[in-house]
């Protein structure tokens, strides 16, 4: 009898642990075991002779699993190609992956695990909130750390010498949006709407700065409340300032609504929105006719990268051949770029020491031919320049380059 009870207790405890793990994953993952555990056990402790270990940290389960899995796929594929061609400086590359579920707590654990496995460099993580806790752990261990997709400005404000990103910070997007609206489209009175989130407010403030530097006017600057669905009070106030263009820096779930309600109030100004609106939901919410009037500022779609850059085309083709689908987001291509930059640094310096690699990236790397365009880093490790483009929706809800 007591045996039965013990079994039941054990099962109950196991269920509780599984539930807790599921909650930690931010829903969706439901207590799935992470693939990384098997990986970590298999590779054992200590550094294997003759291989260079590179870590990939990203959300392999949970809401952003698509991106994290894409990172791993892209990088594994490139590593295989390099290994078949003889490796880097005579050594084979070994890829270690860690799942952080896009969660800050898990991100710290994932980073510690990769550090203990003696990786020389890490690509990841996907979101800024997961990259931040991992950042310090890699910095303390002196490991080169490149994020392909975290854009929060503050990540590079801490003076970490070994931190880089192949994504652009929101400064670059704001500059592009301001230049595009003022110089390309000739808009003089611009209304900026954000939603008080760190990302949206930052982007709005950067855009304001560059709009004014371009000699145009910001006639309206205010936040909407994303929990609300009724933006007509804000829009009525905005209408009174008679802007030529509206630039919305928040997310797609409000972007589509904002556009629709603006037109309902008879506001005819050009409507543009930031890269968080690069989502089919925007099209659905605004409706076909209105969505086609919107300009979406975004990093290029993988398909447009392929059209302009033979290397990108080759990468995307082999990715499709290997995994049966094209990389669905630019961040996956950016992860490939992060990996290629790491390999470049190791090849050119002949070292695997994080500080030496970082030094090389800071001082020597110039116009590295990335799949997402030329790559240069400034002293903070941020990528300089811009690759943003203006897009618009076609009849099917696909983003196509904007034509005047």
């Amino acid at each position: 009898m007591s045996k039965v009870r013990r079994v039941v207790t054990a099962l109950g405890l196991a269920a509780a642990v599984a539930l807790a793990a599921g909650c930690g994953g931010g829903g969706g993952s439901g207590g799935q075991p992470s693939g990384s555990q098997a990986q970590g056990g298999g590779s054992g402790g200590g550094e294997a002779a003759g291989t260079i270990r590179i870590g990939v940290q990203g959300p392999l389960t949970g809401n952003y699993a698509y991106e994290g899995t894409g990172f791993v796929r892209a990088i594994t594929m490139l590593a295989d190609e390099i290994n078949q061609a003889g490796g880097v400086n005579g050594k084979k590359i070994e890829i270690l992956k860690e799942d952080d579920k896009g969660d800050p707590k898990e991100a710290a654990l994932a980073a510690q695990k990769l550090v203990s496995q003696k990786v020389v460099a890490v690509v990841g993580s996907y979101s800024s909130s997961a990259t931040e806790p991992a950042q310090q752990i890699y910095a303390d261990a002196g490991i080169l750390h490149i994020t392909p997709s975290s854009t929060a400005t503050k990540l590079s404000e801490k003076g970490i010498k070994t931190f880089f990103r192949t994504a652009f910070i929101d400064d670059a997007q704001g500059r592009f949006a301001a230049n595009f609206l003022v110089k390309e489209l000739g808009k003089q009175k611009i209304a900026l709407v954000h939603d008080n989130s760190t990302y949206a407010k930052g982007l709005a403030e950067w855009t304001k700065k560059y709009v004014e530097e371009n000699g145009a006017q910001v006639v309206f600057f205010d936040a909407l409340n994303p929990k609300e669905k009724d933006f007509s009070p804000l829009l009525t106030k905005l209408k009174g300032t008679q802007p030529d263009a509206i630039f919305f820096t928040g997310y797609f779930s409000e972007g589509g609504l904002l556009l629709k309600q603006a037109r309902d109030l008879g506001i005819e100004a050009t409507f543009a929105a930031g890269n968080a609106n690069n989502n089919p939901e925007f099209f659905k919410i605004a409706g076909k006719d209105l969505a086609k009037q919107a300009i979406i500022v975004s990093e290029p779609m993988p398909v447009d990268l392929a059209a302009q850059n033979p290397d990108a085309k080759k990468f995307i083709d082999s990715y499709k051949q290997k995994y049966g689908e094209e990389p669905g987001s630019v961040w996956i291509v950016s992860a490939a770029d992060a990996f290629r930059v790491i390999v470049e640094a190791i090849t050119k310096t002949g070292k695997t020491d994080g500080k030496a690699l970082a030094e090389y990236l800071h001082t020597q790397l110039k116009d590295f031919p990335g799949l997402t365009g030329p790559i240069n880093f400034n002293e903070k490790g941020d990528r300089t320049g811009t690759i943003h483009r203006a897009y618009t929706f076609d009849d099917n809800g696909t983003l196509v380059p904007f034509k005047k």
């Binding site: 829903g27 936040a223 409340n225 609300e228 009724d230 007509s232 009070p233 209408k239």
Partner: protein
């Protein structure tokens, strides 16, 4: 001036939605002296059922008759759910403490939210395009879309209907009697249980209509929407004087206008905060609400 008039129209539109939802709170409170915290979720359920009907039979929903029929059908289903909620969550607790009822109401609310999330998924759902034509009129420079006009007209008609029902019919008189004193009403031969069922039928019915109007207007619905709108409507009910039917109507419209003016002339990000400032202010300064019942009536 134009902008001000436009803001008033904006406020009246959203306010009339609050008023419809607030009626549900106020009627239940009037008779049972409890707050039906599951009411917001019934509003949300209405929006989702309307969405399902519109997605399943989009072509029918594009005709005015179809749309009205779907609204009616979905609202009736929600009204039946309202009856069920009363039977399962409130009637067994009729004689227990108020705290038990509040907990039970919150339970129902969480249950409904999760049920909808599991059935429809956690993401936004979007009403099909073009159910209501984009026609708009300019009146003194104020843009009035067909949808806004429809929301105002529907709410005003429903509120007028309810007012007439409560003030002019025998059943309405019985309801008012039950609201004043249940035991005395029972002695006078009024079936108080039937009145309570009626209340739990009418409130959700109006709430569901409001849910569908919101769905048609903003086109984007989410399983958590019941909470925000529920709290706003509850505030409106308190503002007008909870338990008082004309109070809920006035409270709803007033809250909509105040909130809109606040968003328009202060900052849109403060819109929600403003609603709750009003709630706290009313509770401190005039706990009975603007049209609150005189205490003498209850003694």
């Amino acid at each position: 001036m134009q902008a001000f008039l436009q803001q008033i129209v904006n406020g009246l539109t959203i306010g009339s939605v609050y008023a419809l939802v607030a009626l549900g709170y106020t009627m239940v409170f009037g008779v049972l002296k409890i707050v039906n915290f599951a009411h917001g979720e019934l509003f949300m359920l209405g929006a989702y059922l309307g969405f399902t009907a519109a997605v399943t039979w989009t072509e029918v929903a594009r005709t005015a008759t179809g749309l009205i029929l779907f609204t009616l059908g979905a609202s009736l289903v929600v009204a039946v759910v309202g009856l069920l909620v009363e039977r399962v969550a409130y009637r067994p607790l009729r004689r227990s403490s108020r705290l038990a009822t509040v907990v039970s109401a919150l339970g129902v609310s969480i249950f409904l939210q999760n049920a909808v999330m599991l059935l429809y998924g956690p993401n936004y759902q979007v009403y099909p395009e073009g159910l209501v034509s984009d026609r708009a009129w300019q009146v003194f420079g104020v843009e009035i879309t067909l949808m806004r006009a429809a929301i105002l007209a529907t709410s005003l008609a429903l509120m007028a209907g309810l007012y007439f029902f409560v003030m002019r019919t025998r059943l309405g008189m019985a309801t008012r009697a039950a609201a004043i004193d249940q035991d005395t009403a029972r002695l006078m031969g009024i079936d108080v249980d039937a009145i309570i069922r009626l209340i739990f039928f009418l409130g959700p019915l109006l709430g569901a209509v409001a849910g569908i109007l919101v769905g048609l207007f903003y086109r984007q619905i989410n399983f958590t929407m019941g909470w925000t709108y529920g709290m706003k409507a509850f505030t409106a009910a308190i503002l007008g004087g909870i338990g008082n039917i004309p109070g809920a109507m006035v409270g709803g419209l007033l809250l909509g206008i105040l909130e809109t003016l606040g968003a328009g002339y202060v900052s849109a990000a403060w819109k929600d905060a403003l609603a709750f400032f009003i709630l706290i202010g009313i509770l401190i300064l005039r706990p009975t609400g603007l049209l609150g019942e005189r205490v003498a009536e209850k003694v």
